[in-house]
Amino acid sequence: MNLQSVLVYLTLLVALVYLVNKFLLPKKYRIGRKGTSSGCGQDDCGCS
């Protein structure tokens, strides 16, 4: 496998981890900022 393919799989992994972390995991298992809805802008738009 060449470097470019490795990078593609890495990026894909990051994206998948982000989505699963955001939507599928229950709150307590989430990676990063727990509980609070920071990084969502002031009014929580686009956050769960």
């Binding site: 470019q4 989505l19 955001k22 002031q42 738009c45 686009g46």
Partner: protein, 740 residues
């Protein structure tokens, strides 16, 4: 305990009862700016001079003793029942110096019940700015009471209230107004029938349920000598009473209350009259909305075109500069397309928030709330639901949270449930691109068809919200009390800083909140679209070349080539003269390049069709076909259940995968054809069907999560998801089947 004085704080909503209560009792509790936040019973103890104690009761806001709501009847029931353990020895009527006239109506009624009453004129700190001067001595004399001029904000006058309460025995309990003059004959009879009762109290008991039916109804039985009047007669008499009271109050205030009439105050009154007018108010509101949508269209088209071009160029640049390979493709086709799909809608979203912020900041929004209360009532909503519904045009999430200041739980729940119907900014990208594709560009009275369609979609969203509210209002069996008061802030020129802050904050929250999700999904989709497990995927190139050599290009490509070739030929013939050989050479070259391009496109589309994503899309195609969509739109719709705005990014990725032409998303969509008929995929029928699907479907994970949080149960969000999406499917189905 027996030694303590019973004190009741009564006053119009938002006059500062709770603030005074806090100052007197020292009990800490929340003082909000939401009109009528006081809906429950709040009690506290206050130490008075000379070691006396007072038991203080903070009552719900009341406009008058002519009850129109349960909350007001709480106050009236207390005042009419001398046996109640909370029956006040003295009532402290809290008034707001700016609205003294309206506040005094209640004061005179309490006075007429012969309950000792002290008048607190609160918000004294505002007098200077408003140019108000008071003749307190004259007021005390005319109203036959003692007055404390107070500012809870500046903490002045509180001691005076305590003194007056301690001294309540010296208050006069003579009535202010002789109510019997409104119908002397009737009151005379009343007096004869119930000689031992206070006349005004009797009158209040009789008229208590004229406007409002309390749960426990007290009635006075008809006797031989006395029969009560019909409701409408009583209502008329009640109006007469109000007029009488206002005459009395006006007479006093004319002497004791002076306002240095600044132009601004008169201006405000006139403006209020126009903006909340029964006809003009709505026309103006409608006109303002129309202007906003037109502006969003016209102004944002320039930055959008610019962004569109920049991303196409960036994608090209990446391909030319980076070493060729799959990761380069991912950047150019997956990541850049994903980011472009977000960034391109920043201008529109920023403009929308700009207008909302301007309306809010200027004070106009409160007039809209007032205006709309009339409209909202029949739908089981309150005027306050307008704020969530209008904020819902930005994002349903803050809108659902904004329902917190609707006190009535049923109204609040209904507002939460219907808010996702309003056109949120995430729908905007979907709407805009589909409208651009299927709605013609013409104008109608200077308004473009496209802008009108957008406006119509917003109206449809509101209508859906209203009608589902009406149904919910009937269906949900929840008992709760009504309470509605609107505060009208002064008009002011919007502070540029506040407006800018709102616009930046909201835009940022769209870009970062939704943007990250969109980007992540774009990457996943790109991967699914450029990889496949089947043999057909691996052999795509050979299979397509073979097909072309046997059957030629697809109809769409054949016509496209012919057309481009013809226009090239005309171009050459009108240009500088060429020799026959030169001409033929150029034409051959052109034909080769056109055919090469078409071949690559067909390979790309064949690959996509046999990729993972193609397989998924094909699997759900039977479900979306009756709506007029192909499997590509099917995928976009499916991924939109995470967040609607993913739609455009998804299509961008799907279409640009394996396509290294620098075509913009829109043109690419316009070029899509149906497999079976070679007609454009995006025509009026499928476009409208798609617009309607997005208008009604509940496609936002984040909103569902917030609804769960606000209602504290999964029941409501899941019901929302199921009902809204099923409804969306049916409507889209009907629309397509009719229009096609």
């Amino acid at each position: 305990m027996s030694k303590s004085i019973n004190v009741a704080l009564i006053g119009n909503p938002n006059t500062g009862k709770t603030s005074v209560f806090n100052q007197l009792t020292g009990l800490k509790q929340k003082v909000g700016n939401y009109p009528g936040i006081t809906v429950e019973k709040k009690e506290g103890i206050c130490k008075l001079p000379r070691g006396v104690k007072a038991h203080i009761l903070d009552l719900p806001g009341t406009y008058s003793l002519n009850t129109t709501s349960l909350d007001e009847s709480v106050v009236v029931e207390l005042l009419l029942n001398r046996n109640d353990k909370d029956f006040p020895d003295v009532v402290v009527v809290i008034s707001d110096v700016e609205n003294l006239k309206r506040n005094l109506l209640l004061f005179t009624q309490i006075k007429d019940l012969r309950i000792p009453a002290i008048l607190v004129i609160n918000m004294a700190d505002r007098m200077r700015r408003k140019g108000i001067t008071l003749d307190l001595a004259l007021l005390e004399k005319k109203l036959d009471t003692r007055i404390a001029l107070v500012s809870t904000r500046k903490n002045t006058g509180i001691e005076k209230i305590k003194e007056l309460i301690a001294d309540y025995k010296n208050l006069s309990n003579k009535p202010n107004v002789d109510t019997t003059v409104i119908d002397p004959e009737y009151f005379e009879k009343l007096k004869k029938t119930f000689p031992n009762e206070d006349l005004y109290k009797l009158w209040l008991v009789i008229t208590q349920d004229v406007n409002f039916m309390p749960i426990e109804k007290k009635t006075i039985p008809d006797t031989a000598s006395f029969s009560t009047k019909s409701k409408s007669e009583l209502k008329r008499l009640q109006q007469k009473e109000t007029i009488l009271r206002y005459q009395f109050i006006n007479g006093i205030l004319k002497e004791a209350y002076k306002v240095d009439l600044q132009a601004a105050r008169g201006f405000r009154a006139t403006l209020d009259k126009i903006l909340t007018h029964k006809v003009f108010g709505y026309l103006i509101f409608f006109f303002i909305l129309l202007t906003i949508f037109q502006a969003i269209y016209d102004w944002s088209s320039y930055p959008m075109d610019f962004i569109d071009e920049q991303f196409a160029a960036a994608s090209e640049w990446v391909k030319d500069t980076l070493p060729p390979g799959v990761f380069t493709n991912l950047i150019a086709e997956g990541i850049l397309a994903g980011i472009g799909g977000i960034v391109i809608f920043i201008p529109q979203i920023a403009f929308l928030f700009l207008f909302i912020a301007l309306l809010e900041e200027s004070g106009y929004m409160s007039r809209v709330v007032f205006l709309m209360d009339r409209v909202m009532r029949p739908f089981g909503l309150s005027g306050k639901s307008v704020v969530p519904l209008i904020s819902g045009t930005a994002c349903a999430i803050p809108a659902v949270m904004a329902t917190r200041n609707i006190e009535n739980w049923k109204e609040r729940l209904i507002t939460i449930l219907v808010t996702p119907f309003t056109t949120c900014s995430a729908r905007l990208p979907v709407y805009l691109i589909i409208i651009a594709l299927v709605i013609p560009e013409g104008r109608f009275f200077g308004l473009s068809y496209q802008a009108l369609t957008l406006m119509l979609l917003y109206i449809i969203g509101f209508m859906a919200a209203l009608f589902s509210a009406m149904i919910l209002h009937r269906v949900l069996e929840i008992r709760s009390r009504t309470f509605f008061v609107i505060e009208m802030p002064n008009y002011k020129l919007p502070l540029l800083k506040n407006v800018a802050y709102t616009v930046i904050e909201k835009t940022k929250s769209f870009v970062y909140g939704a943007g990250k999700i969109i980007l992540a999904i774009s990457i996943v989709l790109w991967f699914l679209g450029s990889n496949g497990y089947s043999d057909r995927f691996a052999q795509a190139e050979n299979l397509v070349k073979q097909r072309i050599s046997e059957n030629g290009f697809t109809t769409y490509n054949r016509e496209d080539i012919a057309e481009k070739f013809e226009s090239y030929r005309t171009e050459l013939q009108t240009g500088p003269a060429l020799s026959e050989a030169q001409l033929n050479d150029s034409l051959t070259l052109k034909m080769e390049s056109l055919e090469f391009r078409a071949q690559r496109q067909e390979i790309a589309s064949f690959k996509l069709e046999n990729s993972y994503i193609g397989n998924i899309g094909k699997a759900i195609e039977p479900l979306v076909k009756p709506l007029g969509y192909d499997w590509k739109i099917g995928i976009a719709v499916l991924t939109s259940f995470a967040a609607r705005e993913v739609f455009v990014g998804t299509l961008a990725t799907i279409y640009s995968v394996g396509n290294d032409e620098e075509e913009t998303i829109k043109n690419r969509m316009a070029a899509e054809v149906r497999d079976e008929s070679d007609k454009p995929l995006f025509n009026l029928a499928s476009g409208i069907s798609l617009l309607l699907f997005y208008a009604f479907a509940m496609q936002c994970m984040s909103t569902l999560a917030v609804v769960k949080r606000e209602t504290n149960s999964w029941k409501w969000p899941l019901a929302q998801l199921a009902i809204m999406s099923t409804f969306a499917y049916l409507i889209a189905l009907i629309a397509y089947q009719i229009l096609k």
